[in-house]
Structure formats: C-alpha cells, structure tokens
Amino acid sequence: MKKIYLWFTENYLSIIVPLILLLIWESCSRFNLIETKFLPSPSWIIKEFFILLSNGELVRNLLISIIRVAEGFFIGVSLGIIVGIQVALNKNLQKSVRFIFGILRPIPVIAWIPVLILWLGIDESSKIAAISIGSFWSVLVSVVQAIRNVDKKYLEVAKVLRKDYKTTMLDVILPSTLPEIFTGIRIGIDVAWRSVIAAELIAASAGIGYMIMYARELFQIDIVLVGVFSIGLTGIVIEELVKMAERHLLRWNTNIYQEEVTRKI
C-alpha cells in the first residue's frame, strides 16, 4: 500500500493529466461541442472496446497481427544478426554492400508493400516479408555498430587465453555486443509493429489493420478508433515484454539495471 502511495506521489502527473484531457473531451461531446459522428466520446469508445472485446472480434484480429509480427520479426532479427556479423567482420563484404545497403536502408517499409503484394500475393507471406524488411535494417545497423565497438581489451584476453575463432565469437564478441543489439531489437520491434499495420491497411482479410479499414468503409468511427488505440496499447505491452527480456538477459549490465545489481550484494 505504501509502495503504491510512493509511486503515486512520484508519478501522479502522468495519470492526472490524461484523465483531465479525457474529461474535457467527454464533456465537449456531452455538450455537443464536437460532432460525435466524427469523434465519439471516450465513454462511447470504451463501451465499444468492451463490446469488441467480449465478442472476440478485437482479440482475434489483434492476435492475427501479433502472430504476423512475431514471424516476420523473428526472420528479420535472425537475418539482421547473421548478416550484421558477416558485414562487420569482413572488410571486403563491407565495401561490396556499402552502396547497396545505403540505397535500400532508407526506403520505408510501406514503399515495399505494393512490390511485395505483386511478388507474393496478398496473403500472409507479403505481410511477413514487409515486417522482416522493417526489423532487419534496425538490427543490422546496431549489430555492425556494436561489433565495431567491441572493446579491443576483451579480444586481447581471448587471444592470450588462446581461444579459437568460434569461442571468441560466441563467448566474447556476442555477449559484449548484446546491449547494443538489444537497442536494435527494441527499435526493430517498433518498426515491425508499424509495418504490419501498414501492410494490413493496404491489403488484408484479417488483422487489426484490416478491422480498421473495414470499419472505415462502413463509417463505424467508434470501431476505427478502438482499433487505433489498441495498436498503441499493444505497442506498450510489447515494449514492456522486450524490456523484461532485456533485463533478464543483460542482468550483468549495471547501466540498465543499477538498483537490482547493487541490492543483491
């Protein structure tokens, strides 16, 4: 109880300000200051949210999108790490791909979607490919950067202990780059989640993006808004999950988990 109280005294503004804004919005709708046909009141949206939650529509569409993200993200991250390591360690490869990557990397995923639809059709594979491309680049960049920044002193330790290439790679380079790779993964999952929505908005027969587009065609603004906000909510949940994984994997890294480490002693 005391803990909650302490937390609240620290963070009350983060709670109260959104509540006040919602209250203003709600009263504006009640007093007909805004057209509810275009912007329904918060209470209406929340009611609609619970309807969609109880009839399973929302959960079903969200799950479809999340599974797509999981698949595409897994492919993108794996490729990003593998290619990143190769590029970082091989000077010739680095030179060969410099311009190719330089041109491809800034292309937003959404620009690839029409291409992917033509190549792969409008079913799962085009969406998964789009997500993979999105997360691939952010992971790739952070892996290359991380390996370049590996402390030479660690490499010298591996060398004087006569470790072979494989051991040095897996037991020294990889763990020492993990904090930076995780930064890439965090950005990557963010991009992946945005990409799936973009792909579904353009062409899909299920998923949260599809739900939004379909509701728009029927002019169900409340469903559109429920969809839009649940994208945000899911984003927060995913971010927290990644943070949890990071804390677990990098518990040695005092930079991200200061209190826990000192408390343990």
């Binding site: 010298e156 330790v157 060398k159 202990l161 006569r162 763990p175 990098l250 040695w252």
Partner: protein, 259 residues
C-alpha cells in the same frame, strides 16, 4: 607439479612505424629468468616495458631476436604462459566463477577442473564471491579474479603488466603481500613490469632497470633480502636509494638516511 623452465630473451628488438617514421622501442634486450624466479622490470614511463611483455605473450611480434622457454622457441599455450593486465579485463557478463573457468581450455569442466577452480578461488580469497558479477567487486577483488584466471591453466611463466597500478595505495600493498603468497604456493616463474620501485624491491629476486627509449637493460640489481621483507628496513631503503639513483641525479633524491 609443473616443470618450470628457464625463460630466455635473446637479442630482442622492436620498432614501430608511425607515419613512415621508424621508432625503435626495444633495442637488443637479453635476459634469462631462472625457473621459479621472481623478476621485476622497471623503467621510465613509455620506455617499452609493456611492449616487452606483449612480445612474450604473443600480442605483438618482435622485429628481431627470439624468446625461448627451456631452450625451445616459446609455444603460445596457456600451459606455458599467462598474463595479468593492468586492468582486470573481466567479462562483465560472466560471474567470478565463469570468468575464472574462461582461462581453461575446455568448456566442459572435469571433476579435477572444478576442484582446481575452487582451489584457485580460495587462493585469491574470493570464496563468498564466486557467483558475483565483476561490477559487484572492488578493483582489488577484480584484479584477484584476473590473477586466478591467469593461474588456472598452471602456466610455467606468469607475466604481470603493472597489475596493481590502478589500485589505491593500501590495496596495492595488500595485493603485493598476496602475490608473494600466491607465488610461493603456485611456484610459477613471474615477470613483473612496474613503475613502483618499492613494489619491485618488495617482490622480486632481481630488479631489471630499463633505459629510456630505445629501451635496453641498463642495470640488473639482485635483491637478496629475506622474506617477508620489511619495507622500512635499512637494506630495503639502501636498495631503494640505489634504484632511485638510476632515475634521478643525486641532488634530486629527496631523502637521506640517518641510522
């Protein structure tokens, strides 16, 4: 029990190139270190002491000369040679225990290995910290882990590259006593590079004084004091004065002895 062998440095020279300009770092260094001997190398900063250790451990290669162990070209195996750097250089993602076992050749530890690791953790006095992460240890404790990691493969020769240079004065004295004890238990040949004259006298059988760049051996001073050594004993101070003279003119020496 390991077979200790004589370490010989024969006509070692080393030059670097900085923008096409040749810089001689080491010039014709010759040194024999007897099996089980504790030898310190001191010299002006930047004279190439650490470069010499880098050559011996194989992180760099000499321009000329050869390094022999027991009469044969030194093989770069952890059973022959180990090093402790100035910074502990522990892997922050591994516990103390795992940092030490990283010094072993195999990842799979046999029962003997495990016993040996426990023995070394005890040797460096970190029994209750085996599962701690390096960030939870003090500088002195980290350096102990680093020593245990170097010793776990039982090298015949242990190189110490200013290992206590980054520690505070009290911890440093403590570690010097520790390293004496460890040397007496482990019976390795030890080659220490330091800039601390007291440390060199306190620890070694012989003190090698290097000249300025290009470094060569200027003087070899045997330390024939009984152990444990008294840092304030007359003979100790006399030796210290003698070594100070190698670095400063008579007039600059800021102390005198009245017995």
């Amino acid at each position: 029990m390991k077979n200790l062998e004589k370490l010989s440095l024969l006509n070692i020279s080393k030059s670097f190139f900085i923008k096409d300009k040749k810089i001689d770092v080491l010039n014709d260094v010759n040194l024999d270190v007897s099996p089980g001997e504790f030898v310190s190398i001191i010299g002006p900063s930047g004279c190439g002491k650490s470069t010499l250790l880098k050559l011996i451990i194989g992180l760099s290669s000499q321009t000329a000369g050869s390094i022999l162990l027991g009469g044969h070209e030194l093989q770069y195996s952890t059973h022959d040679i180990g090093i402790v750097f100035q910074e502990a250089r522990l892997f922050p993602w591994l516990s103390v225990y795992k940092n030490i076992t990283f010094g072993l050749e195999n990842k799979q530890l046999s029962k003997d290995d495990k016993n040996d690791v426990q023995k070394h953790i005890k040797l460096v006095g970190l029994e209750s910290f085996a599962d701690a992460y390096p960030s939870q240890l003090s500088g002195g404790m980290q350096q102990r882990v680093s020593i245990a990691r170097a010793l776990i493969s039982h090298p015949k020769v242990l190189l110490l590259d200013e290992p206590f240079g980054a520690l505070d004065a009290i911890t440093r004295i403590h570690m010097q006593q520790e390293i004496t004890r460890i040397w007496q238990t482990e019976k390795s040949t030890i080659l220490l590079v330091t800039h601390d004259i007291d440390e060199a006298i306190f620890l070694s059988d012989r003190v090698i004084v290097m000249s300025n760049r290009p470094a060569t051996i200027k003087k070899i001073i045997p330390v024939e004091l009984p152990r444990p050594r008294d840092r304030n004993g007359y003979d100790f101070l006399l030796l210290r004065k003698k070594i100070y003279k190698e670095f400063f003119d008579e007039i600059e020496i800021p102390f005198s002895f009245n017995i």
